[in-house]
Each structure stands twice: as C-alpha cells, then as structure tokens.
C-alpha cells in the first residue's frame, strides 16, 4: 500500500515534470512573442494615435496614449487581442459558407494546397524514379528541375493562371498547379537521394536473387527512400500552401486566404490581414502536422526505421 502510493506520487511527479518539460519552452516563447508584439504595436501605432485619436492641444497622459494604440480602428500594427477578437468573431458570427468566415477561406486554400501537394508528390516520385534509372534523364532533367525553382512563383503564377484560364480551367485547378510547382521540387531532390541510398552490398544481393528492376525498386529502393521522403513532404506541403496563396493574388481575389490578405490590404483592414496571416500559419501547422502523423504511423508499422 505504502509502496503503491509512493509509486503513484512518483509517476504524477514525473507527469507534471514531463508536461513542464514539453510545454514550458513553447509557452515561454509564446509569451515572449506576444509581449514583443504588444511593444511593437505600442511603438508603431503611437504616431498615428497622436495624430488621429488624441487631442494634442488638450494634452494626454501616457496611459491614454497606450490605450489609444491598443484600440485603433486601422492600426499600423494591430495588437494581439484585436487580432484574436477579429479571428473569434469571424469564426463565430458568420456561417461557414460566408466569405467573412475564415474557415471558408481555409477550405478554399486548403483544397488547392492538398490537390497540388498530391500532384506534386506524384510528379516528384515519378521524376525521381526516372532520374535514378536513367543516366541520360539524370543529365537531361535535373538542370531543368533546379532552374524551374529559380524562377519566382510571383512571376510564373499570372502566366499559368492566364494560360490555364484560356483552356477553361479556373478555380481550384490553376491554384493547385502552382502549389504542385512548388511541391514537386523538394520531393524530387529528396527521393533521388533516397532511391540511391541503398548500399552496394544490398543492390548486389538483389542482383544475386536475379531481381528485376521493378522488384529492386519496389522491395529495396522505395522502402530505403521513405525516411528521405517524409521530411521532403513536410517542406513540400508548406511550400504548396505558399504557392496556393500566391496563386490567389492575381485572380481578382474572390476567395482563399491569399485573397483575404489582398482585400485586407486594398481597404487598409490591417486587423483582417493579420488574422488571415495567423490563420494561414495555423493551416500550415495543421498540414505539416498531418504529414508528420502519417510519417509516424508508417514508420511505426515497419519497426520504427
């Protein structure tokens, strides 16, 4: 009995210790960021507040100045609680299919990101298999693949949208295309390295079994490349999100987080820009989180390697 209680106390202690260990750094960093944010909002908004809100002739206290910087209509730098309020109102006061609800934009952007991510991953896998199996393609394709990434997306996006638009593709497809354009690169590079990672002894062993190229690919090269694939997928899905949002900018900005950013800057709605930014960061975190979850499941199913 005594021992049991002792043991229980020990575990609760380690549990709180574990929570402290896991969450304390995150909370500390978050608090530092919020504090810095408030300080920045105060400093940046002060001139505007003095000019537009406060009566300079009548005079004002520092406290009044601080309060003014925190509650401005269109601040240069919205305070965290203003963004949080806007965020909350957008989610609770509007139906999901309303353009005023951020979830609506998350769905629009998320759709094109995910479609582009799947297409980009497929293209990356296909290209890497070709490159690994053919010296000619290795030499012919790789420079083009690298060069494709040196062209700014911002320059490519309008061209792609116009061309695809004239072919009758609008909405998700062109945005997914841009997302794919950014996704396939990390996947291709990582998979070329991964598919080449088996050692000589392993490829020779497959050779002694008279395994076909396909069997070597399926049974040796692909499984060996998996640990290389997942980090590339995490990078790829984040890059795809950027691509999808950039592709939303030149379309006349009807829907999506990118469009939300653009309309915000048209009308000087800084709070709206910031809540869209926070939402896109959350979406990016969620997408990489999903990829990381799949990675953990897959790697666990093969013994953690």
């Amino acid at each position: 009995m005594k021992y049991a209680r002792h043991w229980q106390m020990a575990t609760t202690k380690t549990l709180t210790q574990r929570a402290m260990h896991d969450w304390l750094p995150v909370v500390v960093v978050l608090m530092a960021v919020v504090l810095a944010w408030y300080v920045a909002a105060w400093g940046l908004n002060a001139p505007g507040a003095i000019e537009r809100v406060l009566d300079e002739e009548a005079g004002y206290t520092q406290m009044e100045l601080f309060e003014a910087t925190m509650t401005m209509e269109r601040p240069l730098m919205p305070a965290p609680h203003q963004v949080a309020m806007d965020f909350y109102e957008s989610l609770t006061e509007w139906p999901v299919d309303s353009p005023r609800n951020l979830i609506y934009h998350v769905i629009v952007t998320g759709q094109s990101t995910l479609l582009g991510f799947c297409l980009g991953t497929a293209l990356g896998l296909f290209l890497s298999v070709l490159i690994v199996h053919s010296r000619t393609l290795d030499k012919a394709l790789l420079p083009w693949i690298v060069a494709s990434q040196t062209v700014p997306v911002l320059a490519i996006a309008p061209i792609v949208l116009v061309v695809l638009g004239s072919l009758g593709f609008s909405g998700t497809a062109p945005k997914a295309f841009i997302a794919m354009y950014l996704c396939f690169f990390p996947v291709t590079v990582a998979m070329v390295q991964g598919l080449r990672s088996p050692q000589k002894i392993e490829t020779e062993m497959m050779h002694t079994y008279a395994a076909s190229r396909w069997q070597s690919l399926w049974l040796l090269r692909l499984p060996a490349a998996l640990p290389f694939l997942f980090p590339a997928l995490r990078v790829g899905v984040a890059a795809g999100l950027v691509g999808a949002m950039v592709a939303e900018l030149p379309t006349g900005a009807q829907a999506g987080l990118g469009a939300r950013l653009l309309t915000g800057s048209y009308y000087g709605q800084t709070v709206q820009i910031w809540s869209a930014l926070v939402m896109s960061a959350l979406l990016g975190l969620a997408l990489t989180g999903i990829v990381a979850g799949v990675e953990r499941l897959v790697l666990r199913s093969r013994g953690g390697v």
């Binding site: 020779e204 050779h207 002694t208 079994y209 013994g303």
Partner: protein, 269 residues
C-alpha cells in the same frame, strides 16, 4: 559411364558444380594493370565444402564474386552447374552470404528471409512456411517477429544464412561470413554450419582468412596468394566428414593446419 565420359568430354565437366579454367581478371588493363586473378584453375564437385584462403588482396573474394556473376573475368572460362555464371544466377543456382548480414532494417526477420522467395513469386503462405523452416534450422525459431536491430551480430548473420538457403540453391557461396564476429560466436556458428553441411551436403564455396576455420570446415582447401592473385596449392582434407570442435586439438587437424600455413608462407615468396 566411362564410355560416356570418353565420347563427350563435356559431360564430366558439366557434372562439376564450379569449373574455372585459366581464368584471369585484370583491372585497368590499359593504364595501370592490376592482376586480380591470374590463370585460375578450380574444380568443385557437387557436395564439396571448398574454402578459399589467403592474405588480403589474394583475390579470394574476387574469385567468389566471379563465380557469382558479380565480377567478370577478362579471359578464360567459368562454368557454374555447366552454364555461365550469368545463366546460373538467373536460374537461382546459388545463394550468396556477404561479409555483412545486409538485412533490410524495415523488414522483420521473417520478412527478410522471405525476400528471395517473394522475388521468385512464391505465394505468401508458402514463403512464410518455407522461411519458418529455415529459421528453425539456423536456431532462430521465435525470433521471426523481431527486427534486425534487435538481434546480435551472430544472430543477424544466421538470418542471412537462412535467407540465402531459403530457396534451396544448389550452391552456397559465403564471403567471410563470420569475419566480423567474436571468436566464441564464430566457433559456435562454424559448428552449426558444419552440421548444416553434414545434413544437406550442399556444395559450399567459402572464403576465409582463418586457417582454423578453413581446416575445420572444408573437404578441400584452396590456398591463394597475392600479386598476381593465384592458387598456390589445393589440399584435399584427410579429416573425416563427421566433425566436432574437439577435432581441432587432434594431431591430424594440426598437421593439416600446418600444411596450410606452409603453403601460405610459400605463396609469399
């Protein structure tokens, strides 16, 4: 039989498991030729346990790799079961055990052993049954669900032997399979390998640089020497086929070991 032998000279040759004639392998023939193998003649009869022994650089591993179609000779001829090494490999005539276990870390022990069977298109159930049998034969029953990193080095190499034998190849080729193991593990695996050979009498070509290992295991010892890689002596073992570790302290064993050592020393001059 004798008549047949006389009328077609090839029939007796094709009965050999391995038949190497005047084989040479020269790397870099133009710039800086390296004679990895020079005029090798070697005949291995079915059921023999042949060890290739010699110092590093004598070409023993290269010779094994030539027989396994992992390297190609520049002149001469090599026949494995009467056909070229290439055809022998395609007909899965041999199993090859490398210096390292080369197990796939993402596969369980069982899945590693079924790998060659899977490549040959055996059904899942058949492959599993056969693999379990072979794991039991190398004393690893109960470890089939483990992953390679959960096993010791000696156990990993036993898995790789089970894998090489899983498709019942006629010839087993082993390239210093126990070289990386400690001496105690090595002795035990030598004994198990000896018993395995006793039961099945499969042809084995075994590369080693340990005299004790070669003498204990082999029915024929091929002593090689470097620069150029060549065979200096072929010794048929006078030891009985039935062997146990205690044999190593007998005068017959020591005499044979001495003979091998002498041949190795001669090769150096």
């Amino acid at each position: 039989m004798t008549v047949a032998n006389e009328t077609s000279g090839r029939s007796s040759e094709s009965a050999l498991a391995v038949d190497v004639r005047d084989a040479s392998l020269i790397y870099n023939p133009v710039e800086a030729p390296v004679h990895a193998l020079a005029n090798i003649d070697l005949a291995v009869r079915p059921g023999e346990f042949v060890s290739l022994i010699g110092p590093s650089g004598c070409g023993k591993t290269t010779l094994l790799r030539v027989i396994a179609d992992l390297e190609h000779i520049t002149s001469g001829s090599v026949l494995v079961n009467g056909v070229s090494p290439h055809d022998a490999r395609l007909s899965r005539a041999y199993g090859y055990v490398f210096q390292a276990p080369a197990l796939f870390p993402w596969r369980t022990v069982l899945a590693n052993v079924t790998l060659p069977l899977q490549i040959q298109g055996k059904s899942k159930a058949d492959a599993k049954r056969i693999a379990m049998e072979h794991l039991e034969r190398v004393g690893l029953k109960g470890f089939e669900g483990k992953y390679p990193w959960q096993l010791s080095g000696g156990m990993q190499q036993r898995v790789s032997i089970a894998r090489a034998l899983s498709f019942e190849p006629k010839i087993l080729m082993m390239d210093e399979p126990f070289g990386a193991l400690d001496e105690i593990t090595r002795d035990r695996l030598n004994e198990q390998l000896q018993q395995l050979w006793q039961r099945e009498r499969r042809t084995v070509v075994f590369v080693t640089h340990s005299i004790a290992e070669a003498v204990y295991l082999s029915t024929k010892i091929v002593v090689m020497s470097p620069r150029p890689g060549r065979i200096v002596k072929v010794i048929d073992s006078p030891l009985p086929d039935e062997r146990h570790l205690g044999l190593r302290d007998t005068p017959a064993f020591m005499e044979l070991a001495h003979e091998v050592r002498e041949a190795l020393a001669d090769g150096h001059h």
